[in-house]
C-alpha cells in the first residue's frame, strides 16, 4: 500500500486525510522536505493558493516538490492544489508561480467570488455521478492534447474541464474531499 502525503501548510488538509484513511491508505502530513521524502504520492489540498505558494517557499518545499514531480511522483491537486500544479495561471498575482506539471491554463476564481460558489452533479468518466462542490473555484480554460478530461461542466459559458489527468498529475477544480464520496480519491490512489 502506498504512503500518500497531504501537503499540510494551509487549507482543508483534514478532509483529504479522512478520505484517504477511509480507503485504507497510509496517510502522512507533509510540512517539511524530510516528510516529503517519506511519501510515495502527494495530495495538494484546497486553500488559498497564494498563501500555500508563499509557505512552500519558506518551508523549502518548492524545489523538493519540483524535483519529485520531475521524477514522476503522483500528485492530486484540488482547487488551490490544481492552481499550484497548472502550467499557466490567469488572474493570479503578478508574481504567482506554479509547478507547471499539468498542461492546462486555469483562471483563478474563474467562476466568481464566494457568492457564486456552487454545488452541482457531475458525470465523471468511469465513475458515474459525483457531487461537485465548487468554492471560489479555478476554471480550467485550456487543456493540452495529451491531458485526459474526466469530467466537464457547463456553467452557462460553454463546457470546461473540471477533472483532468496528465500521466501521474491529476487536477480537480472542485472539492471531492468535502463530501463523503471517496471515488475520485480512489481513482487517484488506484493509479499510484
Amino acid at each position: 500500500m502506498p504512503r500518500v502525503g497531504v501537503l499540510a501548510l494551509q487549507g482543508d488538509v483534514r478532509e483529504h486525510e479522512r478520505a484517504l484513511h477511509s480507503l485504507g491508505v497510509d496517510v502522512a502530513r507533509v510540512r517539511t522536505p524530510a516528510q516529503l521524502d517519506a511519501v510515495d504520492a502527494l495530495v495538494m489540498p484546497g486553500g488559498e493558493s497564494t498563501a500555500i505558494a508563499h509557505l512552500l517557499v519558506s518551508a523549502q518545499l518548492r524545489p523538493a516538490i519540483a524535483a519529485r514531480l520531475d521524477e514522476g511522483m503522483p500528485v492530486l491537486g484540488t482547487c488551490a492544489g490544481l492552481i499550484l500544479v497548472s502550467r499557466e495561471v490567469l488572474d493570479g498575482r503578478v508574481d504567482q508561480w506554479s509547478f507547471e506539471a499539468l498542461d492546462v491554463s486555469v483562471r483563478r476564481n474563474g467562476y466568481g467570488r464566494q457568492l457564486a460558489s456552487f454545488e452541482t452533479t457531475l458525470r465523471v468518466r468511469d465513475v458515474g455521478n459525483v457531487h461537485g462542490v465548487f468554492i471560489r473555484a479555478p476554471k480550467i480554460e485550456k487543456v493540452a492534447d495529451d491531458v485526459e478530461v474526466l469530467a466537464k461542466h457547463d456553467h452557462g459559458d460553454g463546457e470546461h474541464a473540471v477533472l483532468v489527468r496528465q500521466g501521474r498529475v491529476w487536477g480537480c477544480a472542485f472539492h471531492p474531499e468535502l463530501t463523503d464520496d471517496t471515488r475520485v480519491h480512489r481513482l487517484f490512489v488506484d493509479a499510484i
Binding site: 508563499h54 518551508a59 464566494q114 454545488e119 458525470r123 461537485g132 462542490v133 471560489r136 466537464k152
Partner: protein, 298 residues
C-alpha cells in the same frame, strides 16, 4: 460527461462552510486600505478583513463604529486576489445586505462595531454570503450557528493586544464540548437548557466532540507565540486585528504570524520567526478596560 449550470445551486450550507474550511491553518488580517491589503497578501494571509479603523483605534476614538465605506471595500477587492471579508454591526441586517450586494466573501457580524439591535442577531440563513460570528462560550457559539453562522471565532478582547480573553473563550468552548462528549443522552436536555443552545446542535456536538463549523480565534493575538498558543488550544485559524499594523514592523510581523500559524507545533520555527521582530503593539491590561467588547452580543 458534462453537467450544466441549470442543475447548479449557490448559497448552500456546504459552500458557505466550505470557504471556512479552505481558510483553516491560515491568518486573516484586518486592513484599512489597499496598501495594507497588499502587505497582508504578500505575507501569505488567506483573507483580509476590510474595515475603516482597526479595533485599537475604535477603542481609542470612541463614538459609534459602523460598517465601512463601500468604496474602501471595493478598492481592497480590486487590490488582492484572496477573499475579502467585512464587518456588519450585530443585528444590522441592512448593513449585511449592502455587504452582500458588494460581493464580499464573508461577513463578520461583529461586536467590534456598535450593536444595532440589543435583542436579535441577523438571520443569517436569509443570506447567500456566509457569516462568521464571535462567541465567548459554547452556548453562544451554538446560538449563532442556529442563526446560520458558518464559522465561529472566539471574541477575545479586540484591540487590546492581550490574548488572555481569547484563551479564556477557547478553553471554555473546549471544556464545554468535552462535557457534552461525556454526557449521557438523557443529560443532554438539561445541558442544552443550561447552555441556552438548540438541542439538535447540542446532540451533534455530543456525538462528534467538535463544533459543526470551523472554530477560529480572534481578539488580542499580537505575536507569533500567541498564534502558536491558540492553535495548540484547538483554534483552526487566526484573525489578527490591530496586532500587525500597530506593531513596529508590520511586514515582518505579518510574515512571522503566518509562519507561526502553519508551523505552530514546531517551536524551533516559531522561535526563529519571533527573533528580532521589534515591539509588538503596546496593548492593554484587560482588567482596566472601560469598554469590554466581548460583552456585546449574547
Amino acid at each position: 460527461m458534462s453537467s450544466s449550470a441549470e442543475s447548479s445551486f449557490t448559497g448552500s450550507p456546504l459552500v458557505k462552510r466550505g470557504l471556512a474550511d479552505m481558510l483553516r491553518g491560515g491568518v486573516i488580517m484586518d486592513v484599512v486600505n489597499p496598501e495594507q491589503a497588499k502587505i497582508a497578501e504578500d505575507a501569505g494571509a488567506v483573507a483580509v478583513m476590510a474595515l475603516e479603523r482597526v479595533p485599537s483605534d475604535i477603542r481609542r476614538d470612541g463614538g459609534v463604529a459602523r460598517m465601512s465605506d463601500p468604496q474602501m471595500i471595493q478598492e481592497i477587492q480590486a487590490t488582492v486576489t484572496i477573499p475579502v471579508m467585512a464587518k456588519a454591526r450585530i443585528g444590522h441586517f441592512a448593513e449585511a445586505q449592502i455587504l452582500q450586494a458588494l460581493n464580499v466573501d464573508y461577513i463578520d457580524e461583529s461586536e467590534v462595531l456598535t450593536p444595532a439591535d440589543e435583542e436579535h442577531h441577523i438571520d443569517k440563513w436569509a443570506f447567500t454570503v456566509p457569516f462568521v460570528c464571535g462567541a465567548t462560550n459554547l452556548g453562544e457559539a451554538l446560538r449563532r450557528i442556529g442563526e446560520g453562522a458558518c464559522m465561529i471565532r472566539s471574541k477575545g478582547e479586540a484591540g487590546t493586544g492581550n490574548v488572555v480573553e481569547a484563551v479564556r473563550h477557547l478553553r471554555t468552548i473546549n471544556a464545554q464540548m468535552r462535557r457534552l462528549r461525556s454526557a449521557d443522552e438523557s443529560e443532554l436536555y438539561a445541558l442544552a437548557k443550561d447552555l441556552q443552545a438548540p438541542l439538535p446542535l447540542v446532540r451533534e456536538v455530543a456525538a462528534t466532540g467538535q463544533l459543526p463549523v470551523p472554530l477560529f480565534c480572534a481578539g488580542g493575538i499580537s505575536t507569533p507565540a500567541d498564534a502558536s498558543l491558540v492553535l495548540q488550544l484547538g483554534a483552526e485559524a487566526v484573525f489578527v486585528g490591530s496586532g500587525i499594523f500597530k506593531s513596529d514592523d508590520p511586514v515582518r510581523m505579518a510574515h512571522a504570524i503566518v509562519e507561526a500559524t502553519t508551523h505552530f507545533e514546531d517551536a524551533a520555527v516559531v522561535a526563529k520567526v519571533s527573533t528580532g521582530l521589534g515591539d509588538a503593539m503596546k496593548g492593554f491590561e484587560t482588567a482596566t478596560l472601560e469598554t469590554r467588547l466581548a460583552e456585546r452580543g449574547w
